[in-house]
Point group: C2
Chain length 240, copies 2
């Protein structure tokens, strides 16, 4: 299970690169295979569309059980909404004596990459929440938003919006406004570290008017977060 980081080879650790280079079979979503295509010459690849995670990971497990060294790649960190858990769950269905060894090689997570683009928004306690309701009931997500807002966590939102799913990010705004001021800084980052990288600094009151899609990562400041000279900063509490 290999994290390739946010997208450029210069943000992929040597350990991750080595895991890909020594593997015989590379498994991953086509977009991520494309990001590391320079490492794939002469290797077998198993790539499919976004909705077939289970089949893809099952194929990876079967390849590994047949004796092949397999790298399942995730963008960012495979341990954060990536494929590490699914592969371990699938491996766990086999008797222990048949299970291939699974090693998780962490990568720079999308939230770390987005935070770096914005400045230093994650310097204090934070909560990471995905708004995707494909695998999680909305009531669970909504309660987490409420608890994170009440606890004054910096809030990082994965999967904030898709063409089909537009109301959840409005709910985040409304719930969080019950606990924080309308001018609380909100940062929106697309494609951190890639060619198309862009970032927008907005406010809790207005951020849902900005462009947000399934590639956006949204970071909502806590009650102390401020913007200065184009950087979003959450103070740690030093007396300066």
């Amino acid at each position: 299970m290999v994290g390739i980081g946010p997208g450029s080879l210069i943000d992929m650790t040597p350990r991750a690169r080595q895991a890909v280079e020594t593997a015989e079979v590379i498994v991953g979503y086509d977009t991520y295979l494309h990001l590391i295509q320079d490492l794939l010459a002469g290797k077998a690849t198993i790539g499919t569309g976004m909705m077939q995670e289970i089949d893809r990971c099952q194929a990876a497990v079967e390849q590994a059980m047949s004796g092949k060294q397999v790298a399942v790649i995730s963008s960012g960190d495979p341990g954060v909404y990536g494929m590490a858990g699914l592969v371990l769950e699938l491996v766990g269905k086999y008797p222990a004596t048949l299970q291939p060894e699974v090693v998780v090689v962490p990568g720079i997570s999308a939230v770390s990459a987005a935070a770096a683009v914005l400045g230093a928004p994650l310097m204090h306690d934070f909560a990471v929440i995905s708004l995707s309701d494909l695998l999680t009931p909305w009531e669970v997500i909504e309660k987490r938003i409420a608890m994170a807002a009440a606890g004054d966590f910096v809030i990082a939102i994965y999967n904030p919006k898709s063409i089909r799913r537009t109301s959840q990010i409005e709910a985040v705004r409304e719930i969080t406004l019950q606990h924080r001021g309308p001018n609380t800084p909100v940062g929106i980052v697309h494609h951190a570290t890639r060619d198309k990288e862009d970032m927008t600094l907005s406010t809790l009151d207005g951020f849902t008017n900005e462009h947000i899609d399934m590639f956006s990562l949204v970071l909502i400041g806590n009650s102390q977060t401020y913007v200065a000279d184009g950087k979003m900063i959450t103070p740690r509490g030093y007396r300066l």
Copy 2:
């Protein structure tokens, strides 16, 4: 602002390595300078003890304002309880025309590294909380623990315990037990990816009896987290 990752050079991204290699002055806590000593030949270094963060970062800012290229290193990710925020705060005290350019180069965070050692505990929404009350009132920390526990977040604890500070982790246990079963898995990781790496799998009821110190990262599972074949797994919700 450069994240060197959890400690080994093979977990440091090429972008971070390049930032250190091209810098003339390297600033950081002595332990972290030691971890990357192979990259420091011929460079000026500014290293001090753990308690002098402000002086160290101020010296880095002054070096940069004098025209030098400076790398301030943090272990893990400089954007997660690292030095990125402090440096930006100090830079912000100068007029814009005098401010040196600050770039944050993310690193593999301690929480990503610890999760990889344990298996896949962070596959669903999670909260990251530091128990250090040096810069944050305990009442704020305590409320965040309660909110994270009530929201069924996986909870990652930085700075769980020191020689002076031992009651906070017991409070985490008691608060979280109000919301989750006593057998909820808890993972404790020391020195992830370094020579002295070790991990312990315990339960919410019993984990405070295990060895925990200022180098430990503690991960408390959510209501769905389980342990199988020595791995801590939080299911994402796939129907398998």
